[in-house]
């Protein structure tokens, strides 16, 4: 409270700048060109005509709230929550997050490139995400089934990351961070827009976190003195990213690798064994071409390559197990968007060749190979979407996509949206759509360890969603959103046991999982640069058969983000509050609800080009634990307490 008062008095003590708004119009253009403006005061994009409930997080938010990973960004958005098991970050959307779901039910795009790899179909949002969040211009979070345009994985929604460009830097930017738990991070970015039209940037980041020693009472025994995993929560990442565009062409390349220690003795491994770790590396190369053909037609096409490699070391008392998988793929897509009379038509198609999908699981000494799978597969799809202005203020958005997977067959997914603007400032949206997730290679070919067997007959999971949204703009920068929805998920892919031989196998579950939810969000921006986003989300996710609430599914969530200059343009404060309700664990226990508070102070340019920020995460040192998957003995994993970060960014 004291802090908030300080915050408030700081805001009140603002001095006025030299120019009064009324004088602006009398200034000559040369002088107007020299005024530094506050650009915060607008929504990046009007979403009232989008056929979905969309949230946008900008680079300004990432700075103001001290976000370190994409998981930090997504956690701040209404209806989204994360779990962390000290190996990976998992994303829950609208009350749904299955154990062991490596983010295959959400599609993550970076400038149109599909990040989900082709073995587990997983998208990484933690320190294993290949892009440094500092390079993000904005993140658009589109809720609801997106398969009618994007195909598989766009199950609960699509997260579209748009990166910064060379001209956003126009020079060199260096950044350094020091943070709690022995963390440091450095970044160097160079970007330019040249006179000849060539625009380019390159960036490299190094991240190193030593991590705390962690106590797990489950392992407290004479053999494991005090149950402490020592120095095993380390996390190291390197990433490079480059982009060049000329004319209508853009070439993007990225590489990242991460190595993460495992302090939790997952999969029954030896506790506190320093050999436990996983590494992931990702490579991407994407060539894009965009062209406006004549007045009414825009066409774009991509050709891309993606590579993913994972290996994990799992030490057991008798042996050491090495788990490895590789995925390599290339693909092409095209899209044409045209405007004809009252129609806005989009047509597109894509083809992807997953030419390497390989998994190898073996013990190192003595050498035993349990699984050695080498596969390849392909998929293609095409879609059409039309937006028709029916009568004044009424829009119909209809889309349909056909997909073929060489592994699981065909899928057809429609989407219908009716958008009505009864008044200038109000939009009502009625949406219907379906989406699917094709079984991934892991599910088709293997279940954990030697106790499993392939599951060749798996069908895609399906979701059908109904949504009603009211958006009202009290002012152009003051929006209230009410969102009611119902999700019906069928043929869910789940691990089971074959009664015939007792082996583990993946099956399509019978019956539905149903979610009913309501979300209310208020967003406001002020002329002086203040920004507020507050939301409450209620979601009830139940298994139709048993009628029981799903595990890892909080019923209530409330969030508040407030960013405000507290001392002219010299200092901005960003306050974040996140309340997440209790969640059921796999063993039927519950983790307690918690309120997290994060605070970031961000300086303006104290010295030209220099910005400094200081953040405190989990300000009140709230002790909380999150449910984790069955590969852990622990039912829930305790999360970090209070920690700090100091960051500087210098541009020259």
């Amino acid at each position: 409270m004291v802090l908030l008062l300080a915050f408030a008095s700081g805001a009140a003590a603002e001095a006025s700048s030299g120019i009064e708004p009324e004088d602006l119009a009398r200034l000559p253009i040369e002088e107007l060109m020299n005024i530094e403006v506050s650009t915060a005061s607008r929504f990046t994009q009007k979403t009232s005509e989008a056929p979905s409930a969309t949230s946008i997080i900008t680079a300004a938010d990432i700075k103001a709230y001290g976000y370190r990973t994409l998981a930090d960004v997504l956690r701040s958005v209404r209806g989204f929550y994360t779990s962390y098991d000290r190996n990976y970050e998992y994303l829950g959307v609208r009350g749904f997050n299955r154990p062991g779901d490596y983010l295959s039910r959400i599609l993550l795009l970076v400038d149109g490139y599909r990040v989900n790899e082709t073995f587990y179909d997983a998208a990484a949002i933690g320190t294993d995400f290949f892009l440094d969040v500092d390079l993000i211009d904005r993140v658009e979070i589109v809720r609801g089934p997106g398969s009618s345009v994007y195909g598989s994985n766009a199950f609960f929604g699509v997260i579209n990351v748009i990166t910064k460009r060379g001209k956003d830097y126009d020079g060199v930017e260096a950044s350094g961070e020091l943070a709690g738990f022995g963390t440091d991070k450095e970044r160097l970015t160079i970007g330019r827009q040249q006179k000849n039209g060539l625009e380019w940037m390159v960036s490299g980041t190094r991240y190193d976190r030593k991590g705390p020693n962690l106590y797990y009472p489950q392992f407290d025994s004479p053999a494991n003195p005090h149950g402490i995993a020592q120095g095993l929560d380390y996390d190291r990442n390197h990433s490079v990213y480059g982009k060049a565009s000329y004319g209508g062409f853009t070439l993007v390349g990225a590489y990242s690798d991460r190595i993460k220690g495992i302090p939790t003795a997952s999969y029954g491994t030896v506790f506190n064994d320093p050999r436990s770790l996983t590494t992931e590396s990702q490579t991407m190369l994407d060539l894009k071409y965009y062209r406006a053909m004549g007045e009414n037609l825009d066409v774009s096409t991509h050709a891309y390559y993606g590579g993913y490699f994972y290996h994990g070391i799992y030490p057991y008392t008798q042996s050491v197990n090495k788990d490895q998988s590789w995925a390599q793929w290339w693909g092409m897509d095209f899209k044409a968007a045209g405007h004809y009379g009252r129609h806005r038509l989009v047509l597109g198609g894509e083809y992807q060749d997953n030419f390497r999908q390989q998994l190898n699981n073996s013990d190192l000494a003595p050498w035993v190979v349990y699984t050695d799978i080498r596969r390849n597969s392909f998929r293609y799809g095409f879609y059409a979407q039309d937006e028709i202005g029916l009568v004044h203020g009424l829009l119909l958005n209809a889309g349909l996509r056909f997909d073929h997977y060489s592994t699981s067959g065909d899928a057809l997914n429609p989407r219908l949206g009716l958008i009505w603007n009864p008044w200038e400032n109000t939009a009502l949206k009625l949406l219907y759509g379906t989406a699917f997730r094709a079984p991934n290679l892991y599910e088709l070919n293997t279940a954990v360890g030697s106790a499993g067997k392939p599951s060749p007959g798996l069908k895609p999971e399906k979701i059908t969603s109904y949504e009603f949204i009211v958006e009202h703009y009290f002012q152009p920068d003051f929006r209230l959103t009410l969102d009611l929805y119902r999700n019906e998920i069928g043929s869910l892919i789940d691990l089971s046991t074959d009664p015939a031989d007792g082996k583990q196998i993946f099956i399509n579950r019978r019956g539905l999982v149903e979610t009913e939810g309501a979300e209310l969000e208020l967003e406001r921006q002020w002329r002086g640069g203040g920004r507020l986003r507050a939301s409450y989300a209620w979601q009830n996710t139940r298994d139709e058969g048993s009628g029981k609430l799903l595990s890892n599914s909080p019923v209530h969530m409330a969030k508040l983000n407030l960013s405000q200059p507290v001392w002219e343009e010299k200092l901005r404060a960003g306050l974040e509050l996140q309340y997440t309700d209790s969640r059921k664990t796999l063993k039927g226990e519950t983790t307690g609800g918690y309120l997290l508070t994060n605070l970031t102070l961000l300086s303006g340019q104290l010295v030209p080009g220099l910005e400094i920020s200081a953040s405190l995460y989990n300000l009140f040192d709230r002790h909380y634990a999150l449910p984790v998957g069955e590969e852990l003995v622990q039912d829930a994993i305790i999360q970090d307490g209070r920690s700090f970060r100091i960051k500087w960014v210098y541009r020259f």
Partner: protein, 175 residues
């Protein structure tokens, strides 16, 4: 928990009400628009005693247009019109095209044909795509680009004083 949050809220809202110091982006842009109009010559006088500025699409100005509300050019005061959809743009002397209209830009340029409307864009590449003037930001400062071909098509004469401050966009052939 909610009771706790409710106790915080009044403070938070009070903080949020306070306003910052430097002029907002759109106050400055409004002042630019006023200046542009001074440096552009329309082929014939409309006869009315106002200058009509149309804001097309999403209105990003909020109260920022107050900056120029009482200003006049050659005795003509500004009159603001907010158009949800880009229709009847030829009745405007100046049309500000909001970034929300990105998808409709080609249709807007086409519908205007050679009508003498000073189009001012607020989105990336809007001048390349046929608007006469387009705003962009550089280091938190407002900049603008001019597409002289588009001005010629509209029959508007732009003063060289304005042209020399602008980034010139040369795409868009004369038809």
């Amino acid at each position: 928990m909610f009771r706790k949050l409710a106790r915080f809220l009044p403070f938070i809202l009070a903080v949020a009400q306070a306003e910052g110091a430097s002029p907002s982006e759109y106050e400055v842009k409004a002042a630019f628009i006023h200046n542009f109009a001074k440096f552009v010559q329309w082929p014939m006088s409309s006869g009315s005693n106002t200058l009509r500025l149309c804001i097309v699409g999403d209105n990003p100005f909020a109260n920022a247009l107050e900056v120029i509300r009482d200003q006049a050019i050659d005795g003509k005061h500004w009159e603001f019109q907010f158009l949800r959809t880009p229709q009847n743009l030829d009745r405007c002397q100046v049309a500000f095209i909001s970034v929300s209209e990105t998808g409709k830009l080609n249709a807007i340029v086409e519908s205007l044909g050679g009508k003498p409307v000073l189009t001012i864009g607020d989105g990336e590449g809007f001048a390349e795509r046929g608007l006469i003037i387009n705003f962009y930001l550089e280091n938190q400062k407002v900049r603008f680009e001019i597409n002289p071909n588009a001005a010629r098509r509209a029959g508007l004469a732009i003063s060289s004083q304005l042209l020399k401050l602008a980034r010139i966009v040369t795409v868009g052939e004369e038809r």
